[in-house]
């Protein structure tokens, strides 16, 4: 089981649910890594769902673990991509050509769900009507509030910004528009005093 129970936090921090089959003319599912498990569970709920579904899947280090199973669901369309970035053009195309009645399901890491949600929002789908389910890594997508650079898959607090090199602490304050949490210089009031990084939720 790869479901993690996030501790309660501030209101801007996203809360994830469990994917549920909803009536719709078409279904778009975007998942990475263990997020595939949520799609597999969803398929079990509704036998006719997959015939109207387009799955965009990024294995992200899980290799072939899930792709065979996902293909076996016989979705109307299946795409396996090497990275989220590589899938974005396809995702935008699908969203731009979507009709009313499309259901969007996101599953996997926070970074994947946040970025895909942002694309869907930009295509005019309200974030409140997009379903999400967290699976797998609890790593975060972080924005450095100082240099604005994004550091992907942050597992430790504090961490070093991949762009400007400052050591940042991990806040729970989250921007849907940036699909990122906020990172703030940890030693701003005491330069050089950088606490030992702790693994998130450890």
């Amino acid at each position: 089981m790869s479901k993690f129970q996030f501790p309660e936090s501030i209101i801007s921090r996203p809360v994830y649910g469990t994917l549920t089959s909803r009536p719709g003319k078409a279904h778009l599912m975007i998942a990475d890594a263990e997020g595939a498990e949520a799609i597999l569970d969803l398929a079990v709920q509704d036998a006719v769902l997959m015939a109207k579904s387009h799955i965009i899947y990024i294995p992200k280090g899980t290799g072939e673990t899930y792709t065979t199973k996902l293909r076996a669901l016989k979705p109307a369309q299946f795409y396996e991509g090497p990275s989220y970035e590589a899938s974005v053009q396809r995702l935008r195309h699908v969203l731009a050509n979507a009709h009313q009645g499309l259901q969007v399901y996101l599953a996997g890491t926070e970074g994947l769900m946040g970025q895909a949600q942002n694309e869907a929002m930009q295509a005019g789908i309200p974030h409140t009507s997009i379903q999400t389910e967290h699976r797998g890594s609890v790593a975060r997508r972080m924005q450095c509030v100082h240099c604005k650079g994004i550091t992907e898959d942050v597992m430790h607090d504090p961490f070093q910004c991949a762009h400007c090199g400052l050591h940042l602490f991990v806040r729970d304050h989250y921007s849907r528009r940036l699909a990122a949490y906020q990172g703030v210089r940890v030693d701003a009031e005491d330069h050089g005093n950088i606490p030992e990084p702790q693994e998130l939720y450890s």
Binding site: I10, S12, H173, S175, A188, E189
Partner: protein
């Protein structure tokens, strides 16, 4: 009255200062000897003559220098001013509100001449004389919100109202108490306030939202908020926190009176007529402790408020580490005498510090 504009800076050599006039009209935020969060809204329909509450958009001796500081911040980081695409009409609403208010409230400083949509705007302190077509963006050097808020003190959040909620969808934010417009833009009222401790649990934001959703045209509201800032730095942004955070450690018992500033926000709320957006100007006033304690009532009261403030609030407001030193300083201006109710100095009735 004619205002003498200060030549001063809010960075580097920090030559900012308050005249005696500015000290006496400072918006002291504590109406009693203690502080806790409250919605504390009141109508914004004038106030005592000469006070910061009198006009819709207060203009004071810092106007010209504050606008220069804003220009520097924007040159360095244009993301401090953003407007989501659906907010342009609200920007025109805001431009109209500020131009009409300022030209009516300060006719010696600002003039607005309107002939249909053909407008001429004269801003004497900043040396601006522009003619443009109202609602035609191509006739202004910036978008309407940016154009007018480059000429108005304080930050401006322009909030869209939909689904019984307010959304931070546009703003000019260069004098903020440590929050980022670039990060928060697009968030709803509860989300952008998410990091504030205690107030959610107290139901403050639910009540405040209910109030704000119902602010009507022509019936603006206001409230005060406050924090502490070392040095008269307007741009206490998270973006630059890696640069200014260290300044908090430069306080000493000797320099505290001059360096430590009480930072007060006069927050006002106006419904905008065409867009139905709500504009939320956040005007920042700074006063050094040494100037503030020249008003005996304020010296006494500030000591008591800072001393008794819950730890969570002192931490959130960023002065928990400096609180002991601040109290050492302020205690010298608290002789234990009672203070009169309300925020005004009451210089004629409050006794001088007994010694």
């Amino acid at each position: 009255m004619t205002i003498q504009f200060n030549e001063e800076t809010f960075r580097d050599d920090y030559s900012f200062y308050n005249s005696d006039w500015a000290i006496k009209r400072f918006p002291f935020p504590f109406h009693e000897d203690s502080y806790m969060y409250s919605v504390n809204m009141e109508q914004h329909r004038g106030g005592p003559k000469g006070s910061v509450y009198e006009m819709r958009f207060d203009v004071d001796e810092h106007y010209v220098s504050e606008m220069k500081d804003r220009e520097l911040v924007l040159a360095d980081d244009p993301l401090r001013c953003q407007s989501l695409p659906h907010m342009t009409l609200a920007g025109w609403d805001l431009l109209e509100l500020i131009m009409v208010s300022k030209s009516e409230d300060y006719p010696d400083l600002f003039e607005l001449h309107r002939d249909g949509n053909h407008w001429r705007w004269i801003n004497k302190p900043l040396g601006i004389d522009d003619t443009f077509t109202f609602l035609d963006e191509t006739t202004l050097p910036y978008g309407p919100m940016e154009y007018i808020t480059r000429q108005a003190q304080g930050d401006f959040c322009v909030l869209d109202q939909r689904d019984e909620m307010l959304w931070m969808d546009a703003g000019m934010v260069t004098t903020q108490a440590d929050w980022s417009l670039d990060f928060d833009i697009g968030m709803n009222f509860f989300e952008w306030h998410a990091p504030v401790p205690l107030a959610h649990e107290m139901g403050i934001f639910k009540r405040a939202l209910k109030f704000l959703l119902n602010v009507q045209q022509g019936a603006p509201a206001r409230r005060l908020n406050w924090t502490m800032t070392v040095n008269p730095l307007l741009d206490t942004s998270p973006e630059n926190y890696h640069k200014w955070g260290i300044q908090k450690t430069t306080l000493t018992p000797e320099n505290l009176g001059a360096k430590q500033h009480l930072r007060v926000e006069l927050q006002t709320f106006f419904r905008l007529p065409r867009s139905n957006a709500l504009v939320f100007p956040i005007r920042c006033y700074l006063i050094s402790f040494q100037d503030l304690v020249t008003i005996p009532k304020w010296g006494r009261r500030l000591h008591r408020v800072v001393r008794d403030l819950p730890v969570e609030l002192a931490t959130y407001k960023g002065f928990i580490d400096n609180r002991p030193m601040m109290l050492d300083y302020l205690s010298k201006f608290d002789d234990g005498l009672p203070t009169s109710p309300g925020v005004f100095p009451d210089l004629d009735t409050e006794p001088p510090l007994s010694g």
